[in-house]
Amino acid sequence: MKRILLTLAAAGALALSAFAQPKELHILSANDMHAKIQNFPQLAAIADSLRAQYPSLLILSAGDNRTGDPLNDIYEIPAYPMVALMNQVGFKATTLGNHEFDSGPAGLTRLINLSTFDYICCNVIPDPSWGMHLRPYEIFDVNGMTVGIVGIVQIGISGHPDSHPDNCKGFTFLPPEETLQQYSWLRDKCDVVILLSHIGYEGDVDLSARVPWIDLIVSGHSHTQLAGGEIHNGVMITQNVNRLQRVTHTTLTVDGGKVTAKKAENIEVQDYPKKNRVVELMTDFFCTNPEFERVVGTIDAPFTSYEELGILMADSFREMGGADVGFCNYGGVRYDYLPAGPFTVSDILKLDPFGNDAVELTITGEELRQMLLSCCAADEDRFPVVSGITCELIKDKKNPSKIKNLVLYGPDGKKLNLKNSYKVVTNTYVASISTSPRKDQGRAMNYQTAQMIQDYVAKQGHLNYAGRKVIKETLK
C-alpha cells in the first residue's frame, strides 16, 4: 500500500512538473503582402518547414493582403487568389488593412466568407445588414496556451481607412487606440496577447507605451523593415517591407501563464530554396487570369496616335473623377495604335501599366497652366494630354522646341478664366513631378487610373477617337 502511495505521489509530482514546464508559442507573420501571389510557393514551404518542427505554428497577417497585382485584384472574384492561397498555407488570422476595403463591403464580405482564417479588427463595425463575420478579437487554444488576438486598422484624416470613400460606406470606424484599450481584459484571460496592427511602425512604437498588456505587435502599413523584432516599452514589434520579401518567425516562451522570453528572426521568402508544389500549381493557375481577356467595350475606329489614346485616358480621369479637367503625362500613354474591334482589360493594363492612383486637386486656371508646363518640362518636353480643355502651344519660330506661351480654352472654345477654380484629376506620377507652385497639392483618390479607364470604356460602350486633337501648336 505504501509503495502504491509513493508511486502515485511520484506520478503526481511528475505531472505537476510537466504542467509547469515552459512552453513555446511559434508565430509566422506577414504584413502588406499586396497580392504577391508569386511568392506563395516559397511561403508555403517555409510554413511547412516550421510546422514540421512546431505543429502548433500560428500564421498571422497584419493586413493589406491584397491590391498590388491585377492578377489578384481583378480576378473574377476580386482578390480571391490571395484568399485561396492564404487558406492553403494555413493562415489563422488577419486584421484588416486599408486595402482590404478596396472592393467595398460587398466584396469584403464575400472574401471573408471564402476564407478559412479569421478577420480580426476591433475599430471597424460593419453595418449588420452585410452579415460580415468580422471579429474584434479572438481567443485561440494553441498547444494548451490561450492566445488572445486583437486587431486595429489606421483611420485617415478623412475619417476612414485609406481606400476610396465609396468603398468605406457601410462601416462605422472607431479611433484605433481608444477602442483597443477596451480589450485590455484579454490580459487576464490569456497567456499571450497579440495585436495585429495596421497603423504603421511609428504609431505602434507610440502605442507600445500605453499597452503593457500586449506581448507582441505584428505590425503593418508603413512597410518598415525591422531586423527581426524590436522591443519598445517591453512590447515586441515585428514588421517587414511589402510584397512578401520577408516574413518573421517569432518565438514566445510562456511560463506560469505569462510570456517570459521573446525572440524573432526574419526569413527571406523570394530566395527560399524550396517551394510547395501544390501551392505552386495554384499560383500558376491564378497567373493565367481569364479576366484579362474580358471585352470592356468596342473600338469603332482605330486609335492611331498617342494623342488619341491619351485623350481617352484624360477623358476617363475627368469623367470618372467628376472633374472639370483631366490630364495625363504624355509618357504615361504606353502605345500609339489600337485597331478597331474589342477593347479588353489586357489592352487597358498595357495602356496604363504603372498602377498609378488618381489625384484630385482644386486649383486656379493659372495654377493649372503652370502645372501643365511643369509636367511638360519633367516629361522630356512632351506636352501632357488633356480633357475638358484644349491647349494652344505658342512656340518660338526660331526655336520650335521652346514654348513661349500656353493658352487654355474651355469647352465653349473661349479662353479659360485663369482666376477661376477648377477640379482637376490627374495621376500620382504627374502630381509628384509637377513642381509648379499651387495652394492645393491634392489628394489621392484611392482609385487606380487603369480602373478609371476600364470603368469609362464600359460606360461608353463604343469608342471613336479618330482625328481627336486637344493640342494646337502655333509658331510665332
Binding site: T224, D357, V359, L361, Y429, A431, I433, T435, Q441, R443
Partner: protein, 66 residues
Amino acid sequence: MKVKVNRRTLEIFEGATARHALLKYFRIRKFDLSLVEKVDVFDVWGHPIDLDAPLTEGQTIKYKAL
C-alpha cells in the same frame, strides 16, 4: 501634406508614398527621375522602407543612392 526628404521639406498630395516624395525631390533637385527606382530609402530611425510605403504628415525619410 508636408514631408521631409533628406532634411528638405516638401509639400505633396495626401496619400503619397515614398516613391512620390522622392520623385518630387529629384525633380526639384533636377536629378534623373529614373534613379528613384535605384535608391535605398530609410525612415527617421534608419529602418529600410520600400518605395510603396505610405507617408503621413510630417514624416521624414532619407535615401542613399545604391
